[in-house]
Symmetry: C2
Subunit: 221 residues, 2 copies
């Protein structure tokens, strides 16, 4: 369980992590502008452990989701963000279930090589590069960031497990590895609100349609 | 075709559209902070026209996607964003295909009522409220915004078409309505890079798995 304390929110000072830009342009003769942030291109990986027929995901505390849930629950609008009563906001409301993922921050590595590295760092599987199947690329956050997301699929076995995973402690990552059977995945998707991004839901549907063993599929409903 | 001219990009001045915040907190005993932006909760709608068996989407120019594509193509990093040669960036590279969607900016209307309003404004169909089926809610932009997205499905007929759609001119919206047959949708999804968000891909998979007429599904492959 996450322990989240001493929460404070305020306007962002100049930041090395989030760089907001303004694009000015004339569209069809009309002057416009648009404010957005620049994010790194990234990879995400659907991991299927064929030894035990489980999908492997990561779970982590996401401050932006935590803030959003709190602000919505307490009907706090933008202007009075200082007034959230954080003692009433359970840390679990900011915890998301996601595909193993990472940003393309090393120009010397291909997206596939970064994917391999993330599967090792976050989930502890040392997987041969040829096990990674490219699925599709799409745009994330089209309104506010428009960054490119590249999705891969890989199958792993228990023999490839070389560490606990959990991300790089040096980068302050607190990541839990989560395993789910196919019926559990179907159950997860039947919730009203899933604590996951839209691309994650696509990845699950893609897996169920293209990779899930037939007998497992049927038992799931 | 979009005409995009006089493009300029620079650091964002104080903005009423994009408000960046910093959340400070102690996680499991370790002091951290996270920079993010606050976005509105929103709705998106998968629209299926049963008169002509086509899905109805919207297409629009997205400045954040345009910038991102240009910066990636010309290998421009954050620090030298002024150096993009915009004459070499086709406006089409910023055009996305999306579900009809809108933000929850009127607290007096339910998400379903906002969905109905958006289908009318953007796509020109006047659809009874009871035609809207709630599908699922998920988190968009978990790293940077964490906003909640609510997805609906509705079936429409040509008889419900009352206007051209295209969004509110008063809000400076330039939105094209696009129709696709089911084989066209499958073809779209077989591209390497789709100019659409992950939630859009999920919506297409959901439709194909749950709503697509059987004969159409089969003809698509």
């Amino acid at each position: 369980m996450e322990q989240i304390e001493n929460v404070k929110v305020g306007p962002m000072p100049p930041s090395q992590f989030l760089k907001p830009f303004r694009l000015e342009f004339t569209q069809n003769g009309r002057k416009r502008f648009w404010d957005f942030v620049k994010l790194h291109e990234s990879v995400s990986i659907i991991i299927y452990n064929t030894t035990r027929n489980v999908l492997v995901f990561v779970k982590q505390f996401r401050p932006a989701v935590y803030y959003n849930t709190a602000a919505t629950a307490q009907s706090v609008c933008n202007e009075v963000q200082g007034e959230i009563d954080w003692s009433k906001v359970p840390p679990s409301s900011g915890v998301t279930l996601e595909l193993c993922a990472g940003i393309l921050d090393n120009p010397k590595l291909s997206p596939k090589e970064i994917a391999k590295q993330e599967v090792l760092e976050e989930c502890g599987y040392d997987v041969p590069l040829e096990n990674f199947q490219y699925i599709i690329s799409y745009r994330s956050g089209i309104g506010v960031s428009g960054d490119k997301q590249n999705m891969f699929y890989c199958e792993v076995t228990d023999q490839m497990k070389v560490s606990e995973g959990g991300g790089l402690a040096s980068e302050g990552e607190f990541i839990d590895v989560v395993e789910m059977t196919i019926p559990e995945v179907r159950n997860f998707m039947s919730q009203e609100l899933v604590p996951s991004p839209g691309g994650f839901l696509f990845g699950l549907m893609w897996f169920l349609a293209n990779k899930a063993p037939a007998e497992e599929s049927r038992s799931g409903n």
